[in-house]
């Protein structure tokens, strides 16, 4: 009897959960689906206000297909930069977050405050001073400025990982210490695998952030189709004053698809990765 009642309660809870999920899905994916549907409409129907295209067409994608060789190259460039940035950020931010969260040492709070100070300057303002530095170093026109800085830590990732690590019981580190594990090994073997949920959140954020970045690749790389990233490349098509939204939406869909695919493939593995298995 008790078992049945609790099963019924669980089923009701799941049903309520799904209703909520579908409601949110309508809100979050709705505009996205509209985007997709508009990209499949002929120009004349762009304001028909219908969710499903009455006369579906792939014409908007045809213009993009013509540029396919460029687009593949751009997808590769975007992927390369996104990957390097993600790698750099996860490694250096997790290490710093670990140190900040686990240890108490002289100068720690000062360094952490300075790190957070990078939040206060809008990125648009930091753009020019940074560009001048890389220009003097002769690195403008190469990809280096677009990924090397990711290996120098960062406020967002470090702060995120520090918060994550701070809920990990300190006994873990103490136990490792008793076993004579050195600090880098402690990080690499115990703390880094432990941070899978937070590190994957940072990875997703860094990957998508790099992928969608427009201004930095625009100014650092030559604005030539074969040399630039997908976001910059597609911006050439999105002449926002042309009024041809069906085409613009096709570009937007194309821009999102590769990264959504990456997210879809990776998210289960990274978010549901065994969290805190090592702790008792």
């Amino acid at each position: 009897m008790i078992d049945q009642a609790s099963r019924a309660r669980r089923a009701a809870g799941a049903a309520a959960g799904y209703i909520a999920l579908i409601f949110v899905l309508a809100l979050t994916a709705g505009p996205f689906i509209w985007m997709l549907s508009t990209s499949l409409k002929p120009l004349a129907d762009q304001y028909d206000g219908r969710l499903l295209p009455v006369r579906p067409t792939l014409a908007n994608y045809a213009r993009l297909v013509k540029a396919a060789p460029f687009l593949l190259r751009q997808v590769w460039n975007s992927f390369e930069l996104s990957f390097l940035n993600t790698l750099g950020q996860v490694l250096t931010c997790a290490a710093a977050g670990f140190v900040f969260a686990v240890f108490r040492f002289r100068g720690r709070d000062l360094v952490f405050s300075l790190l957070l100070a990078s939040f206060v300057i809008p990125p648009q303002v930091a753009l020019i001073p940074n560009f001048i530095v890389f220009s003097k170093l002769g690195l403008v026109g190469t990809k280096l400025p677009l990924w090397a800085t990711a290996f120098l830590g960062g406020a967002y990732g470090t702060f995120l990982l520090r918060q994550f690590y701070s809920s990990v019981p300190v006994e873990l580190a103490e136990a490792a210490r008793v076993d004579g594990v050195s600090l880098p090994l402690m990080f690499w073997r115990i703390y880094l695998p432990l941070a899978k949920p937070a590190a994957s959140a940072l990875a997703i954020m860094t990957f998508t952030g790099t992928w969608n970045d427009l201004l930095r690749p625009l100014i650092y790389l030559p604005s030539q189709q074969k040399l630039t990233t997908l976001t910059v490349g597609l911006s050439l098509y999105q002449y926002t004053y042309s009024g041809q939204w069906t085409f613009l939406m096709a570009c937007a869909v194309l821009a999102v698809l590769p990264i959504l695919a990456v997210f879809f493939l990776a998210q289960r593995q990274i978010i549901e990765g065994a969290a805190l298995t090592g702790i008792k």
């Binding site: 120009l43 304001y47 020019i128 625009l218 100014i219 030539q224 911006s235 002449y239 926002t240 041809q244």
Partner: protein, 420 residues
């Protein structure tokens, strides 16, 4: 090791030969950077032009194309780092901002050396780049403004199509008739889409057609409030007739109600022709309607400038020269956006017989009665303040005199603060 040495020697001697060859002819060589704004179609045409140019001269051109809304970010950043490109595209109204800051190289010396270089170029397009010290830029293509109309809507309303006899009063009357409301009292169709933010496509033409001015002769003071008749006409269309849509209505049609089939007419430039080509309704163009002081339209150009202190100015000049040549202008005309600045190309098949069949010649004839879009330092800031104040005209019951004089004041205040 020895083999590598061999390559080095080979490379070095090749370099020497190349240097000797280039010095011998006293011709500019090397490579230059040329930046443009535009779409991927424009990028493709520019790259073809560059390839043809390299074949001819041996000068390598690195074409870079960025979308308009981020193009200036790139130019500004390159300047800030002291590495401006040899040549970059310039919007005429912004020219004075760059020239007056000493950012540009003079082209006068080059022009003087090429006899008759500017012959055959529409003089109205040259005006924007002429300074007391000579030319600091040259026009690449230009635009005149005309009246575009939706033939289907005119047919449905039983109205005759606009023609060269039309006055602004007739424009108003037709726009009123073409405005219709749905059963719920909401406007379903507007008579005329008119931009009341930037002066180029509607306001300046109307002001001039009434004998008014946008700026004082020395470009130091906003003169729009000096004559009220044009503004009364505009205000009547907005407030009484409601035949001009306000910005909130327009924004739901991506700011182009004409393209959306929601406005019967629009005054705009030739640059919209390729955008309007794929629509499902029939449309055509007519000259900008006349006013009491005659017919006036606005002419504006996109041009080239060369950065002061760039690495390879001589090669940059060769590139400008080539793009302004008959060959270059003919190729550019393929894009169908703009009008070539050379009369022989504009009046030839490259422009007049384009794939999109409309009365292209009308845009050329407009040069005769066109005035140059005002060009002065701080234009963008001025235009921003002006447009923001003018938006007051959409408010129900707003007094037109008050709105216009407030806009003039705001614009002058912005001008005073420009560039600090």
């Amino acid at each position: 090791m020895r083999r590598r040495m061999g390559y080095a020697v080979l490379a070095a001697s090749a370099l020497c030969l190349a240097t000797l060859a280039s010095c011998g002819g006293k011709k500019p060589a090397g490579s230059i950077k040329a930046l443009n704004w535009g779409t991927e179609q424009e990028a493709a045409v520019w790259n073809e032009l560059a390839a043809a140019f390299t074949k001819k001269t041996g000068i390598k051109v690195e074409i870079e194309t960025a979308e308009w809304s981020v193009y200036w970010d790139k130019i500004n950043t390159l300047y800030a780092a002291g590495t401006p490109p040899e040549v970059f595209a310039m919007d005429a109204p912004l020219f004075m901002d760059w020239y007056s800051r000493g950012a540009l190289a003079s082209l006068q010396g080059y022009i003087d050396r090429e006899k008759g270089f500017l012959e055959g170029v529409y003089p109205q397009t040259l005006a924007a780049y002429r300074t007391p010290e000579g030319f600091y830029g040259l026009p690449r293509d230009f635009q005149t403004v005309a009246l575009f109309y939706n033939k289907d809507m005119f047919d449905a309303a039983g109205l005759g199509y606009p023609d060269e006899s039309w006055t602004l009063e007739e424009l108003r009357a037709a726009a009123r008739k073409l405005t219709s409301k749905g059963p719920d009292g909401k406007i379903k169709q507007w008579g005329l889409q008119a931009d009341l933010w930037d002066i180029e496509t509607f306001m300046s033409e109307v002001v001039w057609a009434y004998g008014g001015e946008i700026m004082s002769a020395d470009m130091s003071k906003t003169a729009i409030a000096d004559k009220m008749e044009p503004w009364k006409l505009i205000a009547a269309m907005v407030q009484e007739d409601k035949s001009i849509p306000d910005q909130d209505s327009l924004s739901q049609y991506g700011s182009d109600a004409f393209l959306a089939g929601k406005a019967a007419m629009i005054t705009t430039g030739h640059w919209m022709v390729p955008s309007y080509a794929p629509v499902s309704f029939k449309w055509a163009v007519a000259p900008f309607p006349k006013g009491p002081a005659g017919r006036v339209t606005s002419i504006n150009s996109a041009g080239f400038v060369m950065a002061k202190g760039c690495k390879n100015p001589d090669a940059g000049w060769e590139w400008i020269k080539y793009v302004m040549s008959k060959e270059g202008q003919t190729k550019l005309a393929e894009l169908g956006f703009a009008i070539p600045t050379r009369r022989d190309v504009a009046e030839g098949p490259a422009f007049l017989e384009q794939a999109i069949k409309i009365d292209h010649k009308l845009f050329l004839d407009a040069v005769e009665y066109a005035r140059v879009k005002p060009v002065f330092k701080g234009y963008d800031r001025w235009s921003s303040a002006f447009g923001e104040s003018m938006a007051g005209i959409y408010k129900p019951g707003a007094k037109v005199e008050a709105v216009v004089s407030a806009a003039a004041q705001a614009a002058d205040a912005a001008l005073a603060g420009a560039g600090k």
